[in-house]
Chain length 221, copies 2
């Protein structure tokens, strides 16, 4: 019974996600769903990514911020000068397709070609809820430990890109990039992994270039 209800919820969500996806496709928008623990560095990564994208001038981004409470992240992102909408889940542990559908009218879809969705800080639940994204990007910081891909395989299985953040702190931790990569590959052989530091800029070029490439691919398609 409980399983049945959960399946119904997931099915309704998947249908709505498909509708969102069609809308994004119609506008030629790449949609990146960022998933990671609280404090893994998603918001700072976004701030630095938006700054780099603006400097290079090839992409027109916008952001949807998901949080249980507060609009702190949306306020931070708004300083970058890009369109941003905050979703407060009121305690809900993930964004779903209906929440995203509800805020799409507040975004200038005709003027953008890249939409970042910063999901609620949670390495577990958001992995199971398609919101209509082009793909999921899992964010793992070195301070969380290299055992996380094996311990939280679902999100690594469902993502196309893994960003290993806070590389500037790696020398203060026991994090082994090799061990993390090995476990990521064992969960998802196709996962593209990019180590970086939003603070120092290390590895940011590869990430920004990947986004530009993919945006070009979507708008051409």
């Amino acid at each position: 019974m409980r399983v049945k209800v959960y399946q119904d919820i997931l099915e309704a969500n998947d249908n709505l996600a498909e509708m969102n996806r069609k809308k994004f496709k119609g506008h030629g928008i790449l949609v990146v769903n960022l998933i990671g623990s609280p404090g893994c560095g998603k918001t700072m990564l976004l701030e630095k990514t938006l700054a780099a994208l603006r400097e290079r001038g090839k992409v027109r981004p916008a952001v949807v911020e998901g949080d249980l409470e507060t609009s702190r992240d949306a306020e931070r992102i708004a300083r970058s000068g890009v369109p941003v909408v905050q979703i407060n889940t009121q305690g809900g542990c993930h964004l779903d397709a209906s929440m995203l559908a509800a805020v799409l009218p507040d975004l200038p879809l005709a003027e953008i070609n890249l939409l970042f969705i910063e999901n609620v800080g949670n390495l577990v639940c958001p992995a199971s809820f398609d919101v209509g994204e082009s793909y999921k990007v899992v964010v793992l910081s070195v301070t969380e430990g290299d055992d996380k891909p094996a311990k939280y395989p679902v999100v690594f299985h469902h993502s196309e890109v893994a960003l290993v953040t806070k590389m500037d702190l790696i020398e203060h931790t026991d994090f082994s990039l090799e061990a993390a990569l090995r476990d990521m590959r064992s969960v998802n052989p196709k996962l593209k992994c990019l180590p970086l530091s939003a603070r120092t800029g290390q590895g940011m070029d590869a990430w920004v270039e990947l986004l530009e490439e993919q945006v070009q691919g979507v708008s051409k398609g």
Copy 2:
């Protein structure tokens, strides 16, 4: 409808949690439910806490490890020589009272007076599921950022103790202990906050003494 189903699940869970709680009370066991993000340092904190408790010899602890997958944490804890049971939730984002009830027969309840429950790494969902603990302890590492108490208020509201971990890394971050404390107090004025570093031992004495005090209180009651 969906809300009703969720309420039913929570109510069934609360009833089972009360049964667990009665059992723990009958055995004079203090039960501490550790909640925090993946990688906030729960397992290392437990390892160092168990070592300190053993050295001081006043408390007889055991551990329940909750993870989506793998028994890596239970294997780490087993090296401390204390009884440990691993629960794998198979993708589930929190422990619930029925999962705990199912493993209680595997624990030597008559021989222990402190049970640590390391919940699934998740700052959101475990906060809403009573498992029959004496109280919840929220674990927040400085590398996650000082904005988390305001952004994830539910778990801080439901906890009696907040441990601010990885204090040895604070100089490499922008974490303000003052800002974090202010937001914690605003969510929960009674929350007892202990900053510490399991790695360097800083602040560990206060935490271990608190546990010993509380264990004594429970076994006397």
